[in-house]
């Protein structure tokens, strides 16, 4: 079987025709397999959704009870037989509940990895390497200029700044699913014990992480806090809130942004960031290229990001490689814009 017969790329995601399902479709379908709950991959309104329990829970938190017609939980390592096709979910190391989806039929295995990272993360299961014939990879940071440093080193810089500026609040912009909780967990690993303040948009998901047994230490809401209380505190918030009305309650804050984009100065300057923290939930260049090589795949499909460089790199190594040009992936930020819209002044 040719790989394209097993999984067919379309502009709204890859589609498995023999078993009639889509993976992370960007339009409403009958049967959707979802890699993780970021809103560019997990949309509401499908008839039937298969995903990990955490992904389903988070989708429910975000979209409400009726986000899908029906749902089915799939555990890591569990194999489903959908018609003639075998489907297995493996940890992707991206955010809580994130999975790579291995699809196999007639001796051909394709791994749709969704978003993934091979770096350590105390808030989710570590990435698992799955040997395959075709590896579908993201390429968010698919340029050799992106090499993420140790996240703990970036957190050291944050805590050093908190010590140097004990009167200024440190606003740490972080995507509300995954990054925010990882940043808090890293702050705890570094030995910081004071309460961490969070924006209201992070409340539900942060509480869910704790329910799942991920300790985040004392958390306070910014909403109820007095202005004087916020001076000198670490405040984790969606990136977009750092420039809106909400941020005016802090006097002379240090704006920090935890993102892989912060590696490039022009991006940090654009966002008027005072302290860029290069912390990413995506694989960097070395992570992408090492992973692709290690899967043993003879063919790479690149979903979104800096496709050109990864495709060029893969071809130079004698692999077959093609960009998929799926429309709508790569906007993890947009979820936060939605979340904060109702939170102004919160």
């Amino acid at each position: 079987m040719r790989p394209e017969q097993l999984l067919t790329p379309t502009p709204s995601g890859v589609c498995c025709k023999p078993a009639k399902f889509h993976i992370d479709p960007t339009r409403k379908v009958d049967r959707a397999l979802i890699t993780h709950a970021h809103s560019d991959h997990a949309r509401a309104g499908h008839k039937h959704v298969l995903a990990t329990r955490e992904t389903l829970d988070i989708m429910r938190l975000r979209y409400g009870e009726n986000f899908a017609g029906s749902v089915q939980e799939v555990g890591y390592g569990e194999t489903l037989n959908l018609d003639s096709v075998k489907v297995t979910f493996h940890p992707a190391g991206h955010v809580l509940g994130s999975a790579q989806i291995a699809v196999e039929a007639n001796g051909c295995r394709i791994v749709a990895s969704g978003d993934y990272k091979d770096a350590a993360d105390p808030t989710c299961a570590p990435f698992e390497l799955v040997p395959c014939d075709v590896f579908i990879s993201e390429a968010t940071f698919g340029l050799p200029v992106f090499r993420h440093p140790d996240a703990s080193e970036e957190i050291r810089k944050l805590l050093q700044s908190v010590t140097l500026f004990p009167e200024r609040a440190h606003l740490v912009g972080a995507y509300s699913l995954g990054k925010a909780q990882r940043v808090i967990a890293l702050i705890r690993e570094a030995g910081y014990e004071k309460p961490v303040y969070i924006h209201g948009a992070l409340e539900k998901i942060t509480a869910y992480y704790e329910e799942c047994g991920i300790p985040l230490g004392p958390i306070e809401l910014v909403k109820g806090a007095k202005k004087a209380e916020l001076a000198g505190q670490i405040v984790v918030c969606p990136p977009s809130s750092m420039t809106d009305l909400w941020s005016r309650r802090f006097s002379d804050p240090v704006t920090c942004f935890a993102s892989g984009w912060m590696r490039v100065r022009a991006r940090a300057r654009q966002g008027q960031i005072h302290l860029p923290l290069v912390i990413s939930d995506h694989a960097d260049w070395d992570g992408l290229t090492n992973t692709i090589a290690a899967t043993g795949a003879g063919e790479v499909w690149v979903t979104h990001g800096q496709e050109d460089a990864i495709v060029h790199w893969a071809k130079a190594r004698g692999l077959k490689a093609r960009p998929l040009a799926i429309v709508g992936y790569g906007d993890e930020e947009s979820e936060d814009d939605l979340d904060t819209a109702g939170e102004t002044g919160a």
């Binding site: 340029l143 050799p144 440093p149 022009a266 940090a268 005072h274 302290l275 860029p276 460089a309 130079a316």
Partner: protein
């Protein structure tokens, strides 16, 4: 170097001045000599070595990275040094001990032969992290724009201990990196570092342009004034070198040495001292225009004919040091006394004392400024550019310290405008309508109409104030609270000649221009409003059109 790079990163992104100072001071506090000294040198522009060319860097990276990937990366990042810093295939070794310090890098670069540079760069790039590589490449290519002034860096150094930035500035001339003695002194150990070179340039003290609104806040009794001469501000430093020979150096106000251009002045200095003054051309005791001075400055070769035709002269304003004694911490009036004796002692007609202008009130000073010939400048009045207003107790501080010295230039720009609104004044003037809004003609929605271009409450005599007040009361067409609208029709209204110092575009003003320091210079009872100026005249002035029909100062 990684630590210095981290600091550079932080201050590049931090907009607040005090926060920047805190970050730099923290670096100075936690970084040992001599690295912190070289960092201070980097901020003050005191580092010098031969820069590496971009071609060398491109060569290094093209040996290591696929050209297509380099092209895609460079296209994305947009800056060559940053692209290379990020792309460099570093060898990650935990706990490596070959990470170079800033001082190693600076000292090595100073001693390195050209052929050794590429190999050394590679060793450093291998050992540093992304930020460190970026800072290194910016440093070696001379492309480091840090966004920190020398003054700010010195302020941060001063924050280490009990001294303030003025003390640092005073101690600074002649000091060299890595400033170990300076840091020790700043941290409260040891004496202030001293330079024993007698002919060093001392950073110059400058004045703020005075605004009309400043006068109310300044007490004339605390200030003295002198003419501002239309020449070139300069500094002359004279002393004995190590072998006991007299050395004299002339500097421009930025510290550029101009000794060679004015050999005719050197023999005037036979005493040790550093003098601040104005360089002028004097013919038969008369100060020549700036134009004439310019002719001398334009000649490259200093011929004896030139020296004869354009005899140079120094008009002294200040004395910064005498017989090795630093006078800059003394009050201006004290220094001025010492200056008087010093100049007298030189017994040389090429150096004289700039006379003081006496005044009892700002209005009196305004009168002197308007007519220097009758107020002591005599036949040199044409070379008077305005007056300098100095606090009697001002110490000599480099830069433009607040509230100490002011310049008040003459020969303003002038325009005829029509009185549109008047408002009561404050204090003694509260019973008079003394604040005026005036306008010029423009072609607006309703055809020819007046558009306000500024406000003035200054420049008229008491008698004129009474006349205007009477006019205002008799010609009010509307009242809005404290403001009266005054008749301003083509054939009825009052025309002011308004003088001002400058113009700027302004989106806040309906007219699109804002005047700097406007004041009423004459009342034009003789002129009907329709003959007042139009907005186009201001716009031409804004664009520097020489056809603008306004009196302007012309310099060749």
């Amino acid at each position: 170097m990684n630590r210095f790079a981290e600091l550079l990163d932080r201050i590049a992104y931090e907009p607040g001045r005090n926060n920047k100072i805190k970050l730099i001071a923290d670096y100075f506090r936690t970084t040992p000599d001599p690295s912190r000294g070289y960092a201070l040198a980097a901020f003050t522009g005191a580092l010098s070595f031969k820069y590496a060319k971009p071609a060398l860097l491109r060569g290094l990276i093209s040996d290591r990275v696929d050209p297509e990937l380099f092209a895609l990366s460079y296209d994305y990042v947009g800056d060559l040094s940053e692209t290379i810093a990020l792309l460099w295939p570093a060898k990650k070794i935990k706990g490596r001990n070959d990470v170079p310090t800033l001082s190693e890098i600076v000292e090595t670069l100073g001693a390195l032969g050209k052929l050794e540079l590429p190999g050394q760069l590679v060793r450093w790039l291998d050992a540093l992290d992304e930020r460190g590589r970026w800072a290194l490449l910016k440093l070696v290519t001379g492309g480091m724009r840090i966004g920190v002034s020398a003054r700010l860096a010195k302020t941060a150094a001063a924050a280490l201990g009990p001294h303030d930035v003025t003390e640092v500035e005073l101690a600074w001339p002649g000091l060299e990196p890595p400033y170990e003695k300076l840091f020790a002194w700043l941290e409260g150990e040891g004496e202030a570092p001293e330079s024993n070179n007698p002919v060093l340039f001392r950073p110059v003290m400058l004045a703020h342009a005075i605004e009309a609104s400043d006068f109310g806040k300044l007490d004339p009794k605390e200030f003295v004034a002198e003419w501002k001469w239309d020449g070139i501000r300069m500094q002359a430093a004279s002393g004995l070198d190590k072998s006991g020979k007299r050395a004299t150096r002339l500097y421009s106000r930025t510290g550029e040495e101009i000794t060679k251009s004015f050999p005719d002045l050197l023999s005037a200095f036979q005493h040790d001292g550093v003098l601040d003054g104005e360089l002028l051309i004097l013919r038969e005791g008369r100060v020549q225009s700036f134009n004439v001075l310019q002719q001398r400055l334009n000649r490259k070769a200093v011929s004896s004919k030139l020296l004869q035709e354009f005899p140079a002269h120094i008009r002294a304003y200040d004395l910064l040091s005498e017989d090795g004694e630093d006078l800059r911490h003394l009050p201006f009036l004290e220094r001025r006394k010492r200056l008087g004796k010093f100049v007298k002692n030189l017994k040389d007609s090429r150096v004289d004392l700039s006379p003081m202008v006496s005044f009892g009130s700002w209005d009196e000073l305004a009168g002197a400024r308007a007519d220097p010939a009758q107020h002591g400048a005599g036949q040199d009045a044409d070379a008077v550019e305005g007056v300098m207003i100095k606090r009697g107790d001002s110490v000599y501080q480099p830069g433009r310290p607040k509230g100490q010295w002011w310049k008040w230039k003459r020969d303003p720009k002038v325009i005829d405008a029509v009185l549109m609104y008047a408002q009561r004044g404050h204090g003694k003037r509260s019973s008079f309508y003394s604040d005026y809004t005036f306008g010029v003609w423009t072609n607006g929605d309703e055809g020819e109409q007046l558009v306000p271009v500024g406000k003035a409450y200054f420049g008229f005599t008491d008698e004129e104030l009474q006349q205007i007040d009477r006019f205002v009361r008799r010609h009010t067409v509307n009242k809005f609270g404290p403001v009266r609208e005054i008749v301003h029709e083509p054939n009825e209204g009052l025309v002011f000649e308004v003088a001002f110092e400058g113009l700027a575009r302004s989106s806040r003003h309906k007219s699109g221009v804002a005047m700097r320091f406007p004041r009423i210079s004459r009342l034009r009872w003789d002129k009907p409003p329709k003959e007042a100026d139009r907005i186009e005249a201001l716009e031409r002035l804004l664009e520097g059109d020489p056809a603008a029909p306004l009196k302007r100062k012309r310099r060749a």
